[in-house]
Amino acid sequence: MVFCFTRSRVYLAVAALATLCATQPAGASDKPDPATDAKAFRNYFVKKFPNVKLEDFVNGPYALDQDMRRQWEEKEQFPPYEFSLEKGKEMFAKPFRNGKRYADCFPDQGIGIRQNYPHFDSNEGKVITLEVALNRCREANGEAPLSYVDDEMAALTAYMAFTSRGKPFDIKVPDDPRALEAYQNGKRYFYTRRGQLNFSCATCHVQNPGERMRAEVLAPALGILNAMPIYRSEWGGMATISRRFTTCNSQIRGVPLDPQDEDYRDLEYFLSYVSNGLPISGPGARP
């Protein structure tokens, strides 16, 4: 009986999906147009939340729910990410065994550059996120890479985000077919439904921001990465972008990809680009 019920639910979901596909209007052009996308993306959220200031979207649910905002503002007096931030600062300054530092791997000694990541590397033809760049720096200096989902990576990116606070996202999609393809792949990933729950990223963060999913208020996709990494009270710890993406996939009952898989890197590229102009607010704190 349980088996039949489960299967029935699956078939119902599939039938609903088929119905949805059949009733939607024809799609837009397949040719990537990042600038037009970003404009439409911003307009959608501004129109949906006319009382929210544009730069406030980076504060996620706190921009939409006044009670949560008051709690958050009090919490920011002693922010829960403070320990991670301190740890990241120490890690960033500590020399590797060969005497070099993280600062030697980045422009401007790695200070105030978070808003430029991810970027498209024309030599490699791929998207390079800050997390990937940090691990490449370690490996180039004889150090083992860090886990993309653990506290040390979160601490490093928290510190780098902190040095960029207030600087607007400035992601470039160069006139290179490979960059456009990466952007488009990220966009495809964002809107593609997956998992047994048949959710896409957009289901929560475009169609339902401000609504509750159990006790959580869903954040708008606009500005969602500006606050990363975040301290999640629910997890009792820090979340890198990698951890956030993989957990989202698991929550909708999809098997997550490996952290920093090319699809996730492209997703980060797309989501960051469409939030261009909004200030970096990380590290952030979320319920």
Partner: protein, 110 residues
């Protein structure tokens, strides 16, 4: 032995024979290990295909694990049922991946 007794013995014998012959058809047969292996292989193949499409579901993996656990305990009815569930889930994830190749475009902000 009277005629009546003889008839009764014959009818009892007939009834026992009928029950014996009919029993495999009227009581569900226990699932065999061979049936389980076939069902599990089909489920694994479907899940592998979902993996090739980068669209596996966690519930499929859970159903496959449940099937294996039941088989290890010798409960092949349960093992076959779980394997078939896993196959159905994997096929649904394959369908989802195929339909989303184009369907995602309908959700985009324009």
């Amino acid at each position: 032995m009277s005629v009546i007794e003889a008839k009764l013995r014959i009818s009892m014998f007939s009834l026992a024979a009928v029950l014996l012959i009919a029993s495999p058809a009227s009581v569900p047969a226990a699932g065999s290990e061979t049936e389980f292996k076939v069902a599990y292989a089909a489920a694994e193949a479907a899940d592998k295909e979902a993996g090739r499409l980068r669209n596996q579901w966690t519930v499929t993996a859970a159903a496959l694990a449940a099937a294996k656990k039941a088989a290890d305990k010798g409960d092949f009815d349960q093992a076959i049922s779980a394997a078939k569930e896993a196959e159905a889930l994997a096929k649904a994830s394959i369908f989802q991946a195929a339909s989303e190749k184009e369907a995602w475009k309908q959700l985009q902000i324009r």
